[in-house]
């Protein structure tokens, strides 16, 4: 692996586009760099350590669920009035995380943001695992989880439909649709890369597994044609879902009666928050992994810079929403509404509110500075804080509103129990376990897509030379482009 000509591609030079991939941009080098990670006979030491910890936390999650199911929801700290606490907070938090992947792969794809190719696989994987974690919470938060299937409309001897007026019902559809489409999108996008892994497989088992997963991909022009059509269609299908899922999740609150929940701003506010938290999570995961797997040439400083900018933009949107909530509360003249926000900032949960404001509004302001956007450790710390802040945002919305609503006679206080804390920790364990398995066995960067944005690919794409135009030397390796994936191994 040769030293790339430049490390920092985050400068904008008028008239010239910055390279999206650095270093040795030959197709073979890209394949080698990505596929070799999934092909190592033994994982690196850090992977084994992290995986053990994650797996242990997953076991903790399972133990907490077993305890919950045998004893009852009372093992959590919930009560009346605060009948939702960590459960729904975690649900909204994880669904929010699950936004970045599809946003990056679908929306940025439609907008032809080619820099997305280096990170979209990774982000989609994160989405899938986050939605899995999210899906757990509504399922386990019910008092009688063994009847959860009643939330699905299915023909039954009770002749009962679920209540289609309930936002919780809409959640079921929104999240399950989102999960299905995201999974499909992720998988379809991975087929060419799976075929590469299949072709490079050295053991029988890998050949069979990757062979089955690759669905007989041969890289023919017809395959590519169909593949790109499907990918485009799925992107078009997934795009509205990105917006709808969190809008629907926000309806859980917005459609209700409670001051602090009942607000028309919630759908866009939640979507912005979801993108915010999703990008923060992508960064949190990407920065150490990029370092650990030496992917700095594929996931360049420019990628980090771009994501930091999105973080800053969404932080401003979220901050605006925080502000406008206070304005509407005051402007409405409704004293219940006004008190709710007053209480958020000064009441018993003020500490949570101010953590939220600090992490989500104050901290991202450092991303006005390029230095912060392009220095990985600053970004890592910043994105971690945003994750914390976004978790607290959901906590503040769910808990402060419920703890003090209309009648002072029923005000209450909620304190989480150790079971809830361990369940939250366990959900991170599950998330990381799945994620580490993904890193270990699947191509974590979309090789085929990245190849399409390296300069030598761009040259052959006819007159349109858009992204990936490179100011350096233009190589002439015509046959490699036409030859497909299997021929570029030297």
């Amino acid at each position: 692996m040769s030293q790339p000509a430049i490390w920092d591609n985050s400068h904008d030079q008028p008239g010239q586009r910055a390279p999206l991939v650095l270093g040795d941009d030959s197709f073979a080098a890209i394949t080698e760099r990505v596929a070799s990670i999934a092909e190592r006979p033994k994982p690196p030491r850090w992977w084994t350590v992290t995986f053990s910890i994650s797996l242990a936390l997953t076991v903790v999650l399972l133990a907490m669920l077993a305890y919950l199911f045998t004893v009852g929801v009372g093992v959590w700290g919930l009560n009346v009035p605060v009948a939702w606490g960590f459960d729904i907070t975690n649900f909204v938090f994880w669904v929010g995380i699950g936004h970045a992947g599809t946003l990056i792969s679908a929306i940025l794809f439609l907008f032809r943001q080619k820099w997305r190719t280096s990170i979209n696989r990774f982000a989609e994987g994160m989405t899938i695992f986050a939605v899995i974690c999210a899906g757990i919470f509504p399922a386990i938060h019910t008092g009688r989880p063994w009847f959860d299937y009643w939330l699905f409309p299915y023909p039954n001897q009770m002749q009962m439909w679920p209540n289609f007026r309930s936002p919780l019902m809409w959640d079921v559809f929104a999240v399950s649709t989102y999960f299905t489409v995201s999974l499909m999108f992720w998988y379809v996008g991975m087929i060419p890369d799976l075929a590469t892994l299949r072709d490079r497989a050295k053991t029988k088992l890998r050949q069979i597994v990757y062979g089955v997963l690759a669905l007989g991909w041969r890289g023919s022009a017809r395959h590519w044609h169909r593949y790109e059509r499907v990918y485009l269609l799925l992107a078009a299908l997934a795009t509205p879902l990105v917006l709808s899922v969190h809008s629907v999740v926000s309806f859980d609150f917005a459609v209700s009666q409670l001051p602090g929940w009942h607000a028309t701003i919630f759908p866009p506010y939640f979507v912005a928050g979801a993108i915010f938290s999703g990008f923060a999570m992508v960064l949190t995961l990407l920065i150490p992994i990029r370092k650990a797997f030496h992917l700095e040439e594929l996931v360049t400083t420019r990628h980090l810079d771009n994501m930091a900018k999105i973080l800053l933009a969404t932080s401003l949107m979220v901050g605006y929403a925080y502000g406008i909530e206070f304005f509407t509360a005051w402007y409405s003249g409704n004293h219940f509404e006004a008190f709710t926000f007053y209480n958020r900032a000064l009441g018993p949960y003020a500490w949570a509110y101010w953590i939220m404001v600090f992490c989500n509004v104050v901290v991202p302001q450092i991303f006005w500075f390029k230095k912060a956007r392009t220095t990985p450790w600053i970004l890592l710390v910043g994105s971690l804080l945003v994750n914390v802040g976004m978790w607290f945002e959901r906590f503040v919305i769910v808990v402060t509103t419920l703890s003090r609503d209309f009648l002072p006679g029923n005000w209450g206080i909620y304190k989480p129990t150790w079971v809830e804390l361990l369940t939250l920790a366990g959900s991170f364990g599950l998330f990381l376990t799945l994620f580490l398995l993904f890193l270990r066995f699947l191509p974590m960067v979309a090789m085929a897509e990245v190849k399409s944005v390296v300069p030598r690919a761009g040259l052959e794409r006819g007159p349109h030379r858009g992204h990936g135009q490179y100011w350096g030397e233009i190589p002439h390796q015509h046959e490699e482009i036409l030859g497909g994936e299997n021929h570029d191994r030297r």
Partner: protein, 973 residues
């Protein structure tokens, strides 16, 4: 008997199921089994009984279980029957009607014919049915020899009694003492007289901390006759109470509350209360003075002087009242003026903590005002014999050979007497419902029969005779106090015969079966009726005693009995432990009550553990900062900290009685410890911060609306303005097609916040008790809660109560958000909860603006004992874990009434359906009925100008409306 059998038995020995099984088969064995000290006895008993059975046939004993060949008359399986009975509390009788399902009493209601009940009950009557089934009730006769507890039998006791009676018998009864609990039972009185004839030298003492002994003594001082006043609040226009909780802790509290509310609704009475600690009576007052306990006497004296100086013919040599504080002066002069104006509609009352002379003064005032005969009647007080001091002296002198304790629990309620050393000097026989602290010091413990399972009788203060009718055969081997007395007398008759003999005696000597049956049916026999006494005032030497009021200095502790477990007698009743105390909303324990100002002076925070020290004794208990408490006063609540009451009550709260040494007040020191106490309050579990208090102050006026008596008299504008109750909807409204449209009205003018509705609802609807830890987490299950609000200055706040239950909104927020349609609306306007369908997302509770839904966070009925199960109402589902529940408007009662009406081919009449809360309410604050019937009470009250809804601006269209509170202070008009 094979060895293997024994081994398996010993393995089983400690499992709860096994014990339960044994308890069902052999109560004696179970008793021995639960006490590890008597394992040897258990083996003996087990060996003997198993051996006998085993040798006989190797089978269980033969029992005859036969179905009825013919249906007994009037008995339809599954259809409840109602029996009239009566309960004794505060030395008075309360007539009851008890619902019995297939031989199990499950619910207590008031007897409308009984003058002390008028159809309602207090909360203790509601909880009595749970006491009957208390698994901790004692089941067997127990003898204690040299500290060893031995399970014995009635036969053994009978033999022992014969020998221990021998000595007193030879000496004309000298050495035989009876300590009874002051139950006003004519049979007991008859037996007492028989006892004094048989044993002329025997002594009898009545002791019950709830008896109004000082009132009787005061009237004896003033008139020479031990009498008791019966207030007639329905006639009273101006009421002055000096520390008397006439609406809750009073012999006639239920009738008082009814009378008070009747006039209050019309704005036709004014209540003045001077009291050290807030009570529900004080909370209902128009003028309330938070006065230190020492100040009550000077205030009463000042009132008398003020009245005398205004020309009232008191003709008493009144001593000087001393200096009054400005607010005291204002209170007294306003009160004096109002009392004079009210004339015979005036009424003055004093609390039990005031000395006898104060009660004499109250009598003199009432007489001078012309109130006697109109707002208060005097009847001869229930005969209370002797005093504890006499018994103590006799015990100390070794003059007591045999002490028979019938009920009560003097070891706990009178800790100033050194019982443990005294009991060793006599043979003590104790009859009690529980093998409690007194029993543990006694030689013999006898299980007492509960009033719901045994024959007895009671006489109300006003003379009505009620038979205490059993609803069920005694669950254990219990006997009543009268039956034990009969044993002593050697009568050997059952309670039934004893009562019939008494009845025959009362009704002219010959037993009249017809009259007896009528009495059983009606629940009372009026007889000639006790006529009010005509009292004549004696010399007024007692007046001088009024001048010797102790100086109000330092910190004074003021004793009060709990409003739920009373003196601790109901401590083992989980319903009452979990009932929120009306003012503090505390459950499961007591606290030191302090005024906000005093607390800050002492440097004590709300909820902090404090050390209270008096005369060398100290207690550690949490502090509760309660607005309205008198300054420099520590309110200490008796009834807690029991050590041997049962599994519910043991070590709940703190026993404060040892600080007082038998008096009502004592000078104390109080210091903070810095540690947090363990309070479980259902409201404001955390002390509310400043912004919360501000919001509360802002909202209370809107939630609990008030109108003044003068505006009521002048013709009231509707409290709910314009379209407030039914704001316009942007879409077509749902029509309701049901023939009946149910609605409820809660009159806040009547509600005194006593909490009887909470217990009644719990009894009717199988509502679980969750325990202290769960209450602290905010998971109490009561379907109806009574919100308590303070308004105004913390030194002298106004109090407001608001019963809050499912509002059965026509446009219910809960229904819309349930994903599985588990809560739906009926055509009759009921918001129905389908337990079977509920998956427990709790979304409905979140979206309910009233937060009246309750969630089963656990299976709260997991460990229900078989006896406890007998109380369950078979018409109401027992909810399992993970299910939401809430008020149903007692849908089982609605359906039952509909079926009855259907069978009689008639539509429902107004009053056919009465939910449990409405039925029990002493003040009739809750009215339920059909809104479609424009002549129904509820439909008329919906049109009342005082009617308004809570949070109607959310367009919930509640089917529960509130009637604005009526206040009658001059400031309000």
């Amino acid at each position: 008997m094979s060895k293997a059998y024994w081994r398996s038995l010993s393995e089983l020995e400690d499992s709860p199921e096994f014990r339960e099984k044994v308890a069902q088969e052999f109560p004696l064995l179970a008793e021995a089994l639960t006490d590890p000290r008597t394992r040897r006895d258990f083996l003996k008993l087990a060996g003997a009984s198993l051996g006998l059975l085993g040798l006989a046939s190797c089978r269980w004993p033969k029992e005859t279980i036969l179905p009825f060949a013919g249906q007994p008359e009037g008995r339809i399986p599954g259809v409840p029957q109602y029996f009239a009975t009566a309960m004794s509390l505060f030395g008075n009788a309360l007539g009851l009607l008890v619902t019995s399902y297939d031989g199990r009493p499950i619910k207590v209601e008031g007897n409308p014919l009984h003058p002390e009940s008028l159809g309602a009950t207090h909360l203790w009557a509601q909880a009595a049915v749970l006491e009957l089934y208390d698994p901790d009730r004692s089941r067997v006769v127990v003898e204690r020899q040299a500290g060893q507890r031995v399970v014995s039998s009635w036969e053994n006791f009978r033999q022992a009694l014969a020998s221990s009676l021998a000595r007193p018998q030879a000496r004309g009864g000298r050495g035989l003492w009876v300590l009874a609990d002051g139950t006003p039972s004519p049979t007991r009185e008859r037996l007492r007289q028989a006892l004094s004839q048989r044993f002329p030298q025997a002594s009898w003492v009545d002791w019950d901390p709830l008896l109004n002994v000082r009132e009787a003594e005061g009237l004896a001082l003033a008139t020479g006759v031990r009498a008791a006043g019966k207030p007639r609040l329905e006639n009273a226009g101006v009421i002055a109470s000096f520390g008397a909780d006439i609406l809750l802790r009073h012999p006639s509290a239920v009738a008082n509350a009814r009378g008070f509310a009747q006039r209050r609704r019309e704005g036709k009475n004014r209540l003045y209360v001077a009291e050290p600690l807030p009570t529900v009576t004080g909370a209902a007052a128009d003028y309330r003075l938070a006065a230190r306990p020492e100040r009550l006497l000077p205030l009463l004296l000042a009132l008398a002087r003020e009245l005398a100086s205004s020309g009232l013919a008191l003709s008493l040599p009144l001593p000087a009242a001393g200096e009054l504080a400005p607010e005291e002066r204002e209170f007294v002069s306003r009160l004096a003026r109002d009392l004079r104006q009210a004339g015979r509609e005036a009424l003055v009352l004093a609390g039990e903590s005031l000395p006898a002379a104060a009660h004499a003064m109250v009598f003199a005032l009432n007489r001078a005002l012309g109130a006697e005969g109109h707002t208060v009647l005097y009847f001869s007080a229930p005969p209370v014999q002797g005093s504890l001091a006499q018994l103590q002296q006799a015990l100390e002198a070794g003059e007591v050979a045999l002490l028979l304790i019938l009920g009560g629990n003097p070891v706990v309620t009178a800790p100033h007497v050194p019982w443990s050393s005294l009991f060793s000097k006599a043979e003590v026989v104790r009859l009690g419902l529980f093998e409690d602290e007194t029993s543990r010091l006694s030689r013999w413990h006898l299980p007492q029969a509960h009033f719901l399972e045994a024959w007895g009788d009671l006489q109300a203060l006003t003379g009505e005779y009620s038979v205490v009718q059993p609803l069920i055969a005694p669950l254990y081997e219990g006997k009543t106090a009268e039956e034990v007395l009969a044993l002593v007398l050697g009568y050997d008759s059952a309670g039934y015969d004893l009562v019939r003999e008494t009845f025959a005696g009362l009704t002219g000597g010959v037993f009249q079966e017809e009259l007896w049956r009528q009495t059983l049916h009606d629940g009372l026999w009026k007889g000639e009726g006790a006529s009010p006494l005509t009292l004549t005032a004696k010399d007024a030497r007692w007046v001088n005693e009024l001048g010797h009021a102790p100086a109000a200095e330092g910190l004074t502790a003021c004793l009060t009995c709990d409003t739920k477990v009373l003196d601790g007698r109901f401590a083992n009743n989980p319903w009452l432990q979990e009932l929120p105390e009306p003012l503090t909303k505390l459950t499961w324990g007591n606290a030191a009550l302090l005024a906000p100002k005093t607390a800050s002076q002492l440097g004590v925070r709300h909820g902090e553990l404090v050390r209270v020290t008096a005369s060398g004794k100290e207690v550690l208990l949490p502090c509760f900062v309660l607005p309205g408490t008198a300054e420099n006063t520590v309110g200490l609540v008796a009834g807690y900290g029991r050590k041997a009451a049962g599994r519910v009550a043991d070590n709940v709260g703190v026993d404060v009685l040892p600080l007082f040494g038998g008096s009502w007040t004592t000078s104390v020191r109080l210091e903070p410890t810095g540690k947090r106490g363990d309070l479980a309050s259902t409201q404001d579990q955390q002390a509310i911060d400043r912004i919360g208090l501000e919001a509360l102050g802002h909202r209370v006026g809107e939630l609990v609306r008030e109108v003044s008596a003068s505006s009521l008299a002048a013709g009231l504008e509707p409290v709910a303005k314009g379209e407030e109750l039914r704001p316009p909807m942007p879409w077509k409204e749902r029509g309701f097609t049901g023939e009946y449209q149910w609605g409820m009205v809660v009159d806040l003018a009547s509600c005194i916040g006593c909490g009887a509705c909470v217990v009644a609802c719990q009894a009717e609807n199988n509502i679980p008790v969750v325990g202290k830890k769960q209450v602290q987490k905010g998971r109490q299950m009561h379907w109806i809660r009574v919100d308590r609000y303070f308004a105004g200055k913390p030194e002298n706040p106004k109090f407001a109560f608001q019963p809050m239950l499912c509002q059965h909104c026509e446009n219910a927020p809960c229904e819309q958000v349930c994903p599985v349609a588990a809560t739906v609306h009926s055509e009759e306007g009921l918001n129905e909860m389908v337990y079977n369908r509920c998956v427990g997302t709790r979304y409905c509770s979140n979206n309910c603006p009233y937060k009246v839904r309750r969630f089963n966070f656990f299976n709260y009925f997991k460990d229900v004992t078989p006896t406890r199960k007998m109380q369950f109402n078979p018409e109401v589902t027992v909810r399992g874990r993970g299910v939401m529940e809430k008020c149903t408007f007692c849908i089982q009662r609605i359906e039952k009434a509909k079926i009855a009406a259907h069978n009689e081919h008639r539509p429902l009449k107004d009053g056919d359906v009465v939910p449990a809360c409405a039925q029990v309410c002493p003040t009739q604050a809750i009215v339920f009925g059909n809104l479609n019937d424009s002549s129904s009470r509820v439909a008329k009250l919906f049109q009342d100008p005082r009617a308004y809804g809570v949070l109607t601006e959310l367009n919930t269209r509640p089917r529960v409306l509130y009637l604005a509170k009526v206040t009658n202070s001059e400031e309000a008009s």
